[in-house]
């Protein structure tokens, strides 16, 4: 009995196959991204009433934006292995002769794409609903901040999703585990965004925070790639 496809694919080949599968499922069911986007708009409305402010700027705006994005990403992380779990497909995935790292890379990439899509909705919505000086002045600096933060969220989120995949109370474990792990990322992203959203643009320390986020992303990517193999054994 020989595999019909010939040699098993490499890490990136397998990862891209899993990623395409995930994106196709997402495209057909429209589960994660619309839920994350709706959640974030809902959170902005809550912040409007909770803070009793019509418009916000500076540190407050940056905090509201980032806390909302972080909480929205929890939803995505919770759903990351949902397809495999509900269809009982994880065993099939593990039986395939591929490197486990491919599963991690695929899941992290999927989460990264979801987060980019989420921000395409959430950031304009935030600007329209709450921001006083407008979002125009924050570009283009906001783009690298968002991308580096998304990368960090994806890297850590996929690891946490894998960790919680076997836990009985995984809906509770994911936010409890994810939010403390994201504190350094929140600090860097919020501090970097803060002067961009202030109406007289404040002093910038962009390079420092971008550098820190890059460091965070790298460290957790290395840790996750090193340990993820042990999560999906047997």
């Amino acid at each position: 009995m020989s595999a019909p496809g010939g040699a098993p694919p490499g890490v990136f080949g397998a990862a891209s196959a899993i990623l395409r599968k995930d994106l196709r499922i997402e495209l057909r069911t429209r589960e994660s991204v619309p839920a994350m986007a709706l959640f974030s708009v809902g959170a902005f409305v809550l912040f409007h009433f909770g803070l009793h402010r019509d418009t916000i700027q500076g540190d407050l705006a940056s905090g509201v934006l980032w806390v909302t994005l972080l909480f929205a990403s929890v939803l995505g992380v919770n759903r990351l292995f949902a397809g495999e779990r509900e269809g009982g497909a994880l065993d099939g995935l593990l039986l395939a002769p591929i490197d486990r790292t491919a599963v991690y890379v695929a899941k992290a990439s999927a989460l990264f794409l979801y987060l980019v899509l989420l921000e395409l909705v959430a950031v304009p919505a935030f600007a329209a609903l709450m921001l006083e000086p407008g979002i125009g002045g924050a570009f283009p600096e906001l783009v690298p901040i968002l991308l580096l933060a998304d990368l960090g969220l994806a890297v850590v989120g996929a690891l946490v999703a894998g960790l919680a995949a076997e836990a009985r109370s995984r809906d509770l474990i994911v936010p409890l585990l994810l939010l403390p792990l994201l504190v350094p990322l929140l600090i860097a992203a919020a501090r970097a965004t803060e002067p961009l959203l202030a109406s007289p643009a404040g002093p910038q320390d962009l390079a420092k925070w971008l550098g820190f986020m890059a460091l965070y992303d790298t460290v957790f990517l290395l840790v996750a790639v090193a340990v993820f193999d042990f999560l999906l054994e047997d």
Partner: protein, 256 residues
């Protein structure tokens, strides 16, 4: 069947050393180290608070290193060691936060001070490690439980220094910090008392760690012996005591 000794080796000497060092440390702290000028006697809590914090953080990182060892060797004993180290560090962490709050209330007038980066980082690390046990015990398969717990311990161990760096960087913008607060400017008597207290708390940690490990080891061995008794063929036991029922009814011993 190889069986490990029921008691950890050198537990008695270790306990005595711990008691002596801690007593000496507290003695030095109260009678030898000078009274701090503007905080008075409340500053003595420093000799408990800071050593506990240092030992707890080292315990977290050590738990991560033991977890690496577990994944590398696939030896469950390392997972047990990592688990007990993290567990004890969480207990110490509660002590750190409580004593820190008391100290803060007495010397700054607030239970909590957000611009104290060490305190804030410690809280975040503590919150993260609080998930260790819920995660661990929500996985039923023991083999898998050990592996997942080790992965968590490694990721969290890497998180500890990053988190400290981030919180400190965030603070520096407002309060430039020349010296760390436990740093250089301590008079020699204070430093001696502090060092002895730190060694004492570290010894206490190691003692408790070994104690807990040998207790787990003992209950494991008890379980194994019980299982062996149940497996013994009846006719072998019948020769000795035919009237007595064969030991304990079979049940999964959920001791720990």
């Amino acid at each position: 069947m190889r069986s490990r000794p029921l008691y950890g080796k050198g537990l008695r000497t270790l306990s005595i050393a711990t008691a002596v060092t801690l007593a000496a440390g507290f003695g030095l702290a109260f009678f030898y180290a000078p009274l701090e000028a503007d905080q008075g006697v409340i500053q003595k809590i420093f000799y408990v608070h800071v050593p506990m914090a240092i030992v707890a953080l080292c315990g977290f990182v050590a738990g991560g290193l033991m977890a690496i060892q577990h994944l590398r060797t696939n030896d469950r004993a390392w997972d047990m060691r990592s688990y007990v180290a993290i567990h004890l560090s969480i207990v110490l962490g509660v002590g750190v936060l409580v004593t820190g709050s008391i100290w803060g209330k007495a010397s700054w007038g607030h239970w909590w001070q957000w611009d104290e980066p060490v305190l804030v980082s410690f809280l975040v690390v503590f919150l993260l490690y609080c998930c260790y046990q819920p995660l661990r015990f929500s996985i039923s398969d023991p083999e898998r439980q050990a592996r997942y717990a080790s992965v968590f311990a490694i990721a969290a161990g890497a998180f500890v220094p990053i988190n400290f760096a981030a919180v400190r960087m965030a603070q520096q913008e407002i309060h430039p910090r020349v010296l760390s607060e436990t740093g250089g400017s301590m008079p020699g008597e204070m430093r001696l008392a502090f060092l002895v207290c730190t060694v004492g708390v570290a010894l206490l940690f190691v003692t408790l760690w070994k104690l807990e490990l040998s207790s787990k080891n003992a209950s494991e061995q008890l379980k194994r012996l019980r299982r062996r008794l149940e497996d013994t063929p009846l006719e072998a036991a019948a020769g000795a005591s035919a009237a007595r029922p064969p030991v304990v009814p079979a049940r999964p011993t959920g001791g720990d």
